[in-house]
């Protein structure tokens, strides 16, 4: 069986990919691949603009904006540049453009980020939240449960790698409830944030490929802005479901560990390759 190739629907999804090089630390470009391919397989065209520092496009022209993670050094550059982009980004958020913001991108959509060391960074304030750096880093598999009117209760799986602790204000809803892992701050049991069509999360992995329900939710909401309600034809997601199941199993197996790598049994450390790990 060949991969699906949908008939041309004449629909075009306009995507703005914010800082594609600067903020790309954990291969989050996989999120873009997931969106583009799942549109293509349904005959929906995608037009992608890469948006770099010093550029100030009109963000309201985009149906979907991607803003991924970066290390602290990159984040500083992005934070400074974002202030130029902030008014248009806020306008886009208010006019229902879909945002997917991951990790540092998520933090910078909030009001502020205070690293463990160094000066506080100002965010764009689209999401009512602020973040403080913690002394330990959450680096482990994560699973959260979300609920949306379109699809009911669903599980998101991924990998989190952050020292920031994020606290939501009353203007933002959490994206989901933590089943395994740490989420926003490791205390309140929630992960991510939602405001209108703006989604922020700590989930890397990248998050979209192995959570096809979430990719399709983002695509549907992004299309709705220009074309109204569009029914996406179902795809054969067996490969994605298997990857989802494998990641869920890992998240459950590592539940409670701050760092997955430190929790790996010592036998593995002693003699790499002496055993095959089966989880």
């Amino acid at each position: 069986m060949a991969n699906e190739q949908g008939k041309d629907t004449r629909l075009v999804l306009r995507i703005g990919h914010l800082y594609p090089q600067l903020m790309s630390v954990a291969a989050d470009r996989g999120n873009l691949f997931a969106i583009v391919k799942r549109c293509k397989w349904r005959g929906i065209k995608t037009a992608i603009d890469q948006i770099f520092v010093k550029q100030t496009p009109d963000f309201t022209q985009y149906d979907l904006i991607l803003f991924h993670g970066g290390a602290d050094r990159e984040m500083e550059v992005a934070a400074r540049d974002l202030q130029l982009k902030a008014p248009s980004l806020r306008e886009a958020a208010e006019s229902n453009t879909v945002f997917l913001a991951v990790c540092a991108g998520y933090q910078l959509l909030g009001h502020s980020y205070k690293p463990f060391e160094g000066p506080e960074l100002k965010g764009v304030g689209i999401l009512d939240l602020h973040t403080e750096g913690g002394s330990t880093r959450f680096m482990t598999h994560i699973a959260i449960e979300c609920e949306f009117p379109e699809c009911g209760k669903q599980v998101l799986v991924g990998y989190e790698n952050h020292s920031g602790r994020t606290y939501l204000g009353p203007g933002a809803q959490p994206l989901g409830r933590v089943l395994a892992g740490w989420g926003n701050n490791g205390k309140d049991g929630y992960e991510g944030a939602v405001y209108k069509n703006v989604f922020g999360t700590y989930l890397h992995g990248p998050v979209l490929p192995k959570n096809p329900w979430f990719t399709d939710l983002l695509i549907t909401r992004a299309l709705a802005r220009r074309y109204g309600q569009v029914e996406l034809p179902p795809l054969d997601d067996s490969t994605e479901q298997e990857a989802h199941a494998a990641a869920f199993k890992l998240a459950m197996a590592f539940k409670g560990t701050v760092s997955a790598i430190d929790a790996t049994p010592w036998r593995e450390r002693l003699s790499p390759g002496s055993t095959s790990r089966s989880l």
């Binding site: 291969a27 990998y159 095959s276």
Partner: protein
Amino acid sequence: MADYSKHGGGGTSWPGRARLALAISAGKLAGASGRLFRIGGGTSLPGMIARRIDPNVLRSVMATTSAKKIVITGSNGKTTTARMTAAIADASGRRVSHNRTGSNLLQGVTSVIVNFADIFGRLDSDLLLFEIDEGTMPVAMPEIQPDVVVITNIFRDQLDRYGELYSVAKALDKLLESLPETATIVLNGNDPQVASFGQQARARKLYFGLRTTDIGRPVPEHAADVIRCIRCNEDLVYEVAYLSHLGLYRCPNCGYELPPLDVAATSIHLDPRGDGPTQVTMETPLGQLELTLPLPGVHNVYNAAAATAASIAAGFGIEKIPAALSNIRTAFGRLEKIQAGDQTIYLAFVKNPTSFNLVLRLIAQHPGEKHLLLVASNTVVDGEDFAWLWDVDLEEISPQVADVICSGTKAEELAMRLKYAEVPLDRVRVIHEREAALNAALQNAGPGGTLYIMASYTPTQELRRIMQKRGWVKPYWEE
């Protein structure tokens, strides 16, 4: 020299010496039984056992030896650079002790001296060559007190293990400050980050790299990590990018640029079919060398330049370098060509987007459709976070893929990645069990066919063990 007696082991007292002898003997015994029972070659076990008995075993032996000590660290190219340096030293008449199996955590490093020293901790070597994992450097370096430190490059590698790229870099840079004036730091000048190391260090610095427009691309590939200025964060401008972020760079804002290269490959001819040999003209402070490397790819030019610089730093001269490097063989799992009956296997150990992309580009130059076996696992050595797979440009090989078997604990993620690289689903199969996966992949390749295996560390070793049982390869500790 550090005072190790207060740590309760080693030392010159009788109990200390007895403990050291016991530690080394027990380590040797563990290594021998490991090899005897073929359970893992004793590459890290002897060191681990010895350290359990005497935690100062490495420090004690290092403090008394008069041999030159070279440490090779960095993300990629450690093993081959170390092998090349060992070959040059050997050809120059030096007796070399070397952790040549690439077991590069603290136990593996300790194993070298357990294997090569006598039970009194005396070494009969002129050169101790250590390949050391960059994350292990902060603990290993004070114990070793090296004369030469080589840093090959720093790529994003197992983020979940060492935190982010810059913290690894910062830690390494800081360590270099502890070296004395008599030591030499050998740095990759083409790596904007590595080239900035050692500014506060007292040790002499020697830069190696490439300086040519024979090869390379105008801008760094997507997976490149360090493309902003180390000093001012401005985007660097590249005259040419050779491999990931390695190239001829300059900051348009503050003027930071690559340092003058002491050892530079100034002319390079790569084999267009992605195999060896590679012809290189290497400029050095001691004269120009014409090298013929039997290995493919620009990465091996870097390894040769690093080894040449290390040899110069250690005082071996350059006369024996061409002969030594013309006989170098691929290290275990570095696109290692293996004859499996009438079939051919290329085994490539891939651990980050840079090494994976490099291998993909080389085999894309090989003629014909490709039969692949991809294996990835999550273990402490392979990393838990496998996100980097999405920075691998599988799209580049996807039109050439005849069939793929995915295996390992990350098999499902591999299969999904291939789907999104538009490899047709009916060409992809998931088989978790390692031997069954290998058999199915060889069956795909067909009689007389060629199979390409790309695997993370643990599966590479597992597959090699199967091939060893079948008589296709020697045990890696005999390589």
